[in-house]
Amino acid sequence: MWCASIGYWLPSGNDLMRVGPDLALIAAIVLILLTTMVTGRRALATAVIVMLGLTAGFLLNWNAGVWVSHHGPDTILEPVPASMIIVDGFTVYFRFLLLIFLAGVTSFWLLGANRQEKDSPEFFTLLLGSAVGMSLMVSTLNLLMIVVAMELASLPSYALAAFDRNSRKGAEAAVKYVIFGSITAATMVYGVSLLYGLFGTLNLAEIAQQMPFVLAEHGRTPLFYLAILAFAVGVGFKISAVPFHFWCPDVFEGARVEVTMWLSVASKAAGLCLLLRVMQTLAAGPTGAVGEYVGPIAGAIGLFAALTCFVGNLSAYRQTSVKRLLAYSSIAHAGYMLMLGAILLRPELSEGAWTAIIAYLLIYMFMNLGAFGVTALVEHYSGSDHIEQFNGLGRRAPWLAVAMAVCLFSLVGLPPLGGFLAKWWLLWALADGGGWLWALVIWACLNTAFSLFYYARIIKHMFLTEDTREKMRVPMSGVAIVQLCAVVLILTGTILAAPIRTAATRYAQGLLQSRTAETLTLTDHAPDETHESMLHH
C-alpha cells in the first residue's frame, strides 16, 4: 500500500521545480519574518522582500510553464496519493494571474498611508499565506488537499478582514466572515467525508471513474448528491454564490481596501477554478454515468449561477458605499462565470467553456484592480468611499475619473472594452450548448442591461455632479497603475483580443489533454474490490 521509497520522502528537484512558485511565496514569508527579527519592523523592507518573492515565483512559474508545455502535465507525489498536486497549463495560468494580482495589491498597499505601517510583516505573511492556499486550491484533485488548501486560503483572510484593529466595521466584518466561513467549511468537510465513505478514495479522478459502479447500488445516489451539495457549500462560500454571499458586502466594506481588492478577485477566482476543475473531472467519467449523475449537478449550478447574478445586480442598485457596490458587482460577475459550470460536462463544449473562463478571469482581474484602485485612492484622499466623494471627480482628478469610467464600462460589458469580449466569449460558449442554456444567455443579457444603471450612477457622480472642492492631489504612481489597468482593458477589447483568445484556447487545450491522459490510466483499475465502500457492509 505505502510506497516507502526515498522519492516519496524527498521529492526530486525536478518535482520541486513544478511547485516552485508556491515555495517562493513560502520562502518570502519566512524571509519577511527573519528580516523583521533582525532589522525591526520596516514596511519598505517587507515590501521589497515581497516583490522579490513575487519575481522569483514568476520566473519559476515561467519555468514550470515551459516544462509543462514540453512534457505535459505533472502530478507530484504520484506513487502514493495520485493527483495530490497537479501542475498543468491551467495551474500555471492561475499562478501567473495570482502573482500579477499580488504585485498590484502590494503596489496599492505601498501607495496608501501604509509606508509607516508597523504591522507590515504580519500583513504580508497573511496575504502571501492565503495566496499559497489559493494556488494549491487550483492545483489539486485530492479532496483532503482541497480542504486543507481552502482553509489555508480562508484563515489568513479572516485575519486580514480585521487588520485595522481600531475599526469597528472591520471587526464586525471579520466576525461575520469567520462564522460564515467555519460553518461552510465544516459542511464541506462533512461532504468530503461522505464522498470518501461512498467511494473509498479521496482522488476525484478515481471517484469519477467509479461513479457508475458505486452508485448503481440502491440508495446511494441521494447520498452522493447530498455529499456534492455539502461540498458545494464550501466552494460556494468562496465564490460568494447566492445563498452563501452574505459575508461578501460586509467584509468588502469593513476590510481595508487592499484586502477587499485581494478578496474580490483572488478568492473568488480560486473557488471558481476549483469548482470548474472538479466539474471537469467528474465529467471525465464513463459517458453514461456522466449524463445520469453529473447532469443534474450541472443544472443546479446553472440555476444557482442565474440566481447569483440576479441577486448581485439587484442589491448593488441602491448602494451608496462604492466598496459595497463593487462587492455586489463582484457577486454578479461570479454568477456569470459560474454559468460556465453548467456546460463543462459536455466534452464538445468544455474547450469553449475553459477558453471563456481563462479570458474572463484575466480581464476581470484588471477591471477590479482598476475600479478598486481608484476607490482606494479616493477613499485615502477624501476619507470615505461614499459615492458623494466621487462628485466632480472628472474635474478634481480627471485621470482617475477616466480610468474609473473605463473600468466601470468594462464591468458592464460595453464594447470596445475587454469586459465586452470576455462576456461575449462567455455567452458564446453558453449559446453553443443550445437548449435550456439559451435561457441562461438571455438571463445574463438582461442582467447586463440592468447592471448598467448602477455602474452609470458612479459615472454620473464623477462627471455630471457639480462639486466645488479643490483638486485632489493623488500620487503619480497611483494614477499610473489605474491608468495601466484602463489601457489594458482598451487593448484587450481591441487589438489584443485575438492573441488573448489564442492563448486562452491553448491553455484550455492543455488542460483537456491532461484530463484525458489521466482518464486513460485510471480506467485500468476502475471497479476495484479494495475500493468497495464501507456502506456496503
Binding site: W9, V30, L33, G40, R41, H218
Partner: protein, 136 residues
C-alpha cells in the same frame, strides 16, 4: 425510485430517532428529578470555591495569545505523530523533511519571542510603545 424512497424513509427514521433521544432524555429528567431551587445552583461553578464577581468580565488578551500559540504547537505535534510512526522507512530523508517543516514553524516562534508576545508581563497598553524598536 422505490429504493430511493426506502433510503429517504431510513434517513427520516434516523433523524426522528436522533431528535427523540434528546427530547426524550430531557423530558424524562424533567419528570422524575426532584425540584429544590436554591440560589447556589444558579451560581458559577469555580472548582468548588465561592465565585468572586461575575463571569462576564473582559478577559486579558494575553490569554488568547497563549492559547493561539498553544494550538499551533499542539497541531504541530499532531502532524509529528504519523511521521514518527513511519520514520524508519523514510530514514535520513524523513529527518530532513521534518527539520524543514519544523524550521518554518520555529521561525514563527522566534518572531513571537523577538517581539515579546511570549512575555507574560508586558508594557501596559496605551502608555508605552508596543515594541522596543518603535522608538527608532
Amino acid at each position: 425510485m422505490g429504493t430511493n424512497v426506502e433510503f429517504l424513509f431510513g434517513l427520516l427514521l434516523f433523524a426522528a430517532a436522533g431528535v427523540a433521544m434528546i427530547l426524550g432524555g430531557l423530558l424524562l429528567g424533567k419528570l422524575i428529578r426532584p425540584k429544590a431551587p436554591q440560589s447556589e445552583k444558579g451560581a458559577a461553578y469555580e472548582c468548588g470555591e465561592p465565585a468572586v464577581g461575575s463571569g462576564w468580565v473582559q478577559y486579558d488578551l494575553r490569554f488568547y495569545v497563549v492559547a493561539l500559540v498553544f494550538v499551533i504547537f499542539d497541531v504541530e505535534i499532531m502532524l509529528l505523530w504519523p511521521w514518527a510512526v513511519v520514520f524508519k522507512q523514510g530514514g535520513a530523508a524523513a529527518l530532513w523533511d521534518l527539520l524543514f517543516f519544523f524550521g518554518v514553524i520555529v521561525v514563527g516562534f522566534l518572531f513571537l519571542w523577538r517581539f515579546g508576545y511570549l512575555d507574560w508581563v508586558r508594557s501596559v497598553s496605551g502608555q508605552v510603545p508596543r515594541n522596543e524598536d518603535d522608538q527608532n
